[in-house]
């Protein structure tokens, strides 16, 4: 009985598994290898061989039109890298990316996950937040290039800001107008257009302006005309001082339209404002009963208010933060979903115990939830760091050509150097640099996998 039991137990099936006749050890390993062979082949051909070849390429001369023209160059390429302004910018930018993007995304993910945890339509909200992940980096880049457009008429962000700001400080009616060159008119620091002449009662101030598009002149404008000025009044006329061919500056000519609705201020002998008036459809107005001169007249600055002209999101200092913003928009959903799953998997009894013990929500969060979530947060953070180190297409697409230099990142620099500038050796050296930078993170990741498994 015992003998049979021993016999049986050595070949006994393990608990819970379905037994199949297994071949002996060596053949089993051979079969495993045979099944793995295609995958190993692909890995070798598309990952291992190119990696080693890149290493070889990085110590070759960068010259030649074709990638296989090689001549040994030692560590010249690596030396060239240290001196290279573009690579230094790229490394600096990558550092900014690594320092900000993963933290922001993890933080945003955590906040969203907590807020939507116990809300009724949490799945719907998570879907909406996750949707940007469904599109490629390239599509994201295109979308945000348009969103960030500096022209308020085209860019969504600037348009939205403009509609808010314009309510508070509305733009003037002729923001682009300037006094014509070689006349007595000039623009003051305060933004008004003033004449260098002086006016006595009975005079008319000629305040002609140019650089006004024909289509910008208000509908009710008619041919400009000087007003009939009685002896005790000062008149003024503000008009579009341009006719085909230019015309004579400072003279009201046939074919030149007046500018209605413009505010003109009359300045007294001491420079203070003694009168304000608005122009008629023919551009004229009159300050009646003015008293003793001499006077001056100015087109007040409110007419020239440019209003909000748009934040230049793509200027050197803002372009990297702008692209990081686009990247976070895309990946926050990933963090929300993963952290949400982590939250859902938290043991409820621990939280209940904490609450029963009298901890506030905030204390529960800080001392119970966060530590329990730490592994999940770690996963999200490390994934984002790896993603951000090799960031490429979103920078290529979102940044316009004139700031690509300032938004440069290592992967983009490698692409430019190797494939556009055709300097394969230097490009390979940059690839090796990127590889070296990623190694510590991969090491961390692998250690974490080992620990959890």
């Amino acid at each position: 009985m015992a003998q049979t039991a021993a016999d049986v137990s050595s070949r006994a099936p393990r608990k819970g598994k379905i037994e199949v006749d297994r071949p002996p050890g060596g053949a089993r390993r051979g079969m495993a290898l045979a099944f793995m062979a295609p995958a190993l082949l692909l890995l070798g051909a598309f990952v291992i061989y190119p990696s080693i070849d890149t290493l070889f390429q990085s110590v070759q001369e960068s010259d030649g039109t074709y990638i296989w023209e090689r001549s040994f160059a030692g560590f010249d390429n690596y030396a060239a890298m240290t001196d290279n302004r573009e690579i230094r910018t790229a490394i600096k930018n990558n550092a900014i990316w690594v320092a900000t993007a993963p933290a922001i995304i993890t933080g945003l993910g955590l906040i969203f996950a907590i807020l939507t945890e116990r809300v009724r339509y949490s799945t719907a909200i998570k879907i909406i937040v996750f949707m940007p992940m469904a599109i490629s980096f390239l599509a994201t880049g295109v979308i945000w290039r348009v969103m960030y457009d500096p022209d308020p008429k085209l860019g969504f962000l600037n348009g939205a800001i403009k509609s808010v700001v314009d309510v508070a400080s509305p733009p003037g009616s002729i923001p682009e107008a300037v006094p014509p060159p070689n006349t007595n008119l000039s623009k003051t620091k305060g933004g008004s257009v003033i004449s260098s002449d002086e006016y006595q009662p009975g005079d008319t101030a000629l305040l002609g302006l140019t650089a006004i598009a024909e289509g910008s002149v208000p509908e009710d404008a008619i041919q400009a005309a000087e007003p009939d000025v009685p002896g005790d009044a000062v008149g003024a006329v503000v008009w579009r001082d341009f006719k085909p061919g230019g015309g004579e500056a400072g003279v009201v000519e046939e074919g030149e339209l007046g500018l209605p609705g413009i505010e003109v201020q009359l300045l007294g002998p001491d420079g203070s404002i003694v009168g304000t008036a608005i122009t008629e459809p023919d551009g004229s107005l009159m300050f009646a009963d003015v008293g003793e001169g001499p006077f001056n007249a100015q087109v007040s600055s409110s007419n020239f208010e440019k209003g909000f002209t748009g934040i230049s999101w793509f200027k050197e200092s803002l372009v990297t933060p702008a692209i990081i913003g686009a990247f976070c928009w895309m990946w926050a959903g990933f963090a929300v979903v993963v952290i949400g799953a982590g939250l859902a998997a938290l043991p409820r009894d621990v939280l209940e115990a904490a609450r029963v013990d009298g901890a506030t929500e905030w204390q529960t969060f800080r001392h119970v939830t966060l530590p329990l979530l730490a592994p999940v947060l770690g996963v999200v953070f490390v994934t984002m760091v790896i993603n951000v180190l090799k960031i490429f297409d979103i920078v290529l697409i979102t940044a316009p050509g004139s700031v690509q230099d300032d938004a440069n990142v290592i992967a983009l620099e490698m692409y430019r150097t190797a494939f556009t500038s055709r300097l394969y050796g230097l490009g390979s050296a940059i690839a090796v640099l990127l590889f070296i930078l990623v190694i510590p993170i991969m090491f961390l990741n692998i250690r974490r996998f080992r620990r959890t498994s």
Partner: protein, 436 residues
């Protein structure tokens, strides 16, 4: 039982994967066959064109087949013609004829012996139909290799006729006239010119058109090969001339900021939209294609062209580009194609379809679909001075990469046109590195 089924499934998947990997089309190897014997009657032709351009070129190839009976097989190379041909040549399987979009490639390929010299029939056809400069341009070290089939005129300045009319001005003929006209148009409320400075290559075209006139042809050739440095006086003069236009922000649509953040296509649509933001835009004859595709303006009516203004009484000079047909194999049929491409019949097929200009002097310009293309083509065919785009002839790291070299430095110049010396020095530093 479950495990068996799983194993079987995996086995099937693996077999399928291997089958897919071994069989099926490998797009890189698609070049239609092995080496053909002399005068084979069938040739492979490679060019960069896709879409409508490909359709038009294939019509030209069909005309060739009709005329000679030689069959053709068109292959598109993708954007990087140099890389594609390089792979094919290394593999021992180059196409019989290739159309190269950069003259630098002709130099490189001829230099490493990948091209077959053109025969006497081809040379004769060129002499009969083209100005002598085209034989020169198609040669490398005095041996003729190629026929310039398609050319581009990059000295065309496009303008919105309505804006110029309401400003009451005529298109300017000289640079000084242009500056004055610009002032008048600015006063009419529309900035003079729209620049696509975000795309650095547009700025290099500006510089080249100015430089060839201020420095002359000899200076242009010397700068192209870096015989003279970028810190040479002639470069400073050209930059100063350019500065006369760009230092007055009123001339530029959106000012300097607008110029630097506008890409090429937007710079064209700005001029020809319903409420134009600029009166003119300068770039090559391909602007016409953009106008037709992206705006509602009609070529010849709403949009018209004037030649790049003359500077300092320089002779009429055209900067341009071109696609040159070269033979990469010994096949006699390849030479027949080159000869055909030099004929007015070949040019007419594509010219009448639009989007194409030929330097062929025997082509009747009335076949062009619009007056503007006809005038632009005539300018090229009769040009006294024709030179290729200088930036196309530079090493790619200096002359062809976004954010580096020429592209970057001219953008820097726009930001600060008052210091041409600094820009020239930066240019020379970049050039020295690239030419090493």
């Amino acid at each position: 039982m479950l495990k068996l089924r799983l194993r079987f499934g995996i086995l099937v998947m693996v077999v399928a994967l291997i089958a897919a990997a071994c069989g099926g089309d490998d797009p890189l190897a698609e070049d239609g066959g092995d080496e053909e014997p002399q005068g084979s009657g069938e040739i492979d032709v490679a060019a960069i064109w896709t879409g409508p351009e490909q359709a038009n070129f294939e019509a030209v190839l069909d005309a060739f087949t009709d005329a000679t009976g030689v069959e053709t097989n068109y292959v598109s190379t993708g954007d990087d013609v140099g890389a594609y041909l390089g792979t094919q040549i290394e593999g021992g399987n180059p196409p019989d004829v290739a159309l190269l979009p950069q003259p630098g490639l002709l130099r490189d390929l001829a230099g490493n012996g990948s091209l077959t010299a053109a025969n006497d029939d081809v040379a004769g056809a060129l002499e009969e139909n083209f100005a002598p400069i085209w034989t020169e341009l198609g040669s490398h070290e005095s041996t003729l290799y190629g026929v310039y089939f398609k050319v581009a005129n990059k000295s065309t300045w496009w303008y919105n006729t309505a804006v110029l009319d309401s400003a009451g001005v005529e298109p300017p003929a000289t640079w000084d006239e242009m500056l004055e006209t610009a002032g008048t148009v600015n006063s009419s409320g529309v900035p003079w010119v729209s620049m696509g400075g975000a795309d650095g290559w547009t700025l290099t075209d500006w510089f080249e058109n100015i430089y060839i006139q201020t420095a002359g042809v000899e200076g242009y050739d010397q700068l192209t090969t870096h015989e003279i440095p970028w810190t040479d006086e002639s470069v400073i003069t050209a930059l100063e001339t350019f500065g006369q236009l760009v230092s007055d922000e009123a001339n530029l649509a959106g000012g300097v900021k607008g110029a630097l953040q506008t890409d090429f296509v937007t710079s064209v649509t700005k001029v020809f939209s319903d409420s134009p933001e600029a009166a003119t835009v300068y770039e090559g004859d391909f602007v016409g294609g953009v106008i037709s595709a992206e705006t509602g303006a009609t070529l010849g009516e709403d949009a018209d062209v004037f030649n790049f203004p003359q500077i300092n009484d320089a002779p009429p000079s055209i900067i341009g580009g071109g696609d040159v047909a070269v033979a990469l194999s010994d096949d006699e049929s390849a030479q027949q194609l080159l000869e055909f491409l030099a004929s007015p019949e070949a040019a007419e097929v594509w010219a009448s379809a639009g989007g194409f200009t030929s330097a062929n002097q025997n082509l009747d310009t009335s076949v062009y679909p619009d007056d503007i293309t006809a005038r632009s083509a005539e300018a090229v065919a009769s040009a006294e001075v024709f030179r290729f785009d200088l930036s196309d002839l530079q090493p790619a790291a200096f002359g062809g990469t976004v954010g580096k070299g020429l592209f970057l430095r001219f953008q820097d110049f726009l930001k600060n046109p008052g210091d041409p010396e600094a820009i020239a020095e930066a240019l020379e530093k970049d050039a020295a590195k690239a030419f090493n």
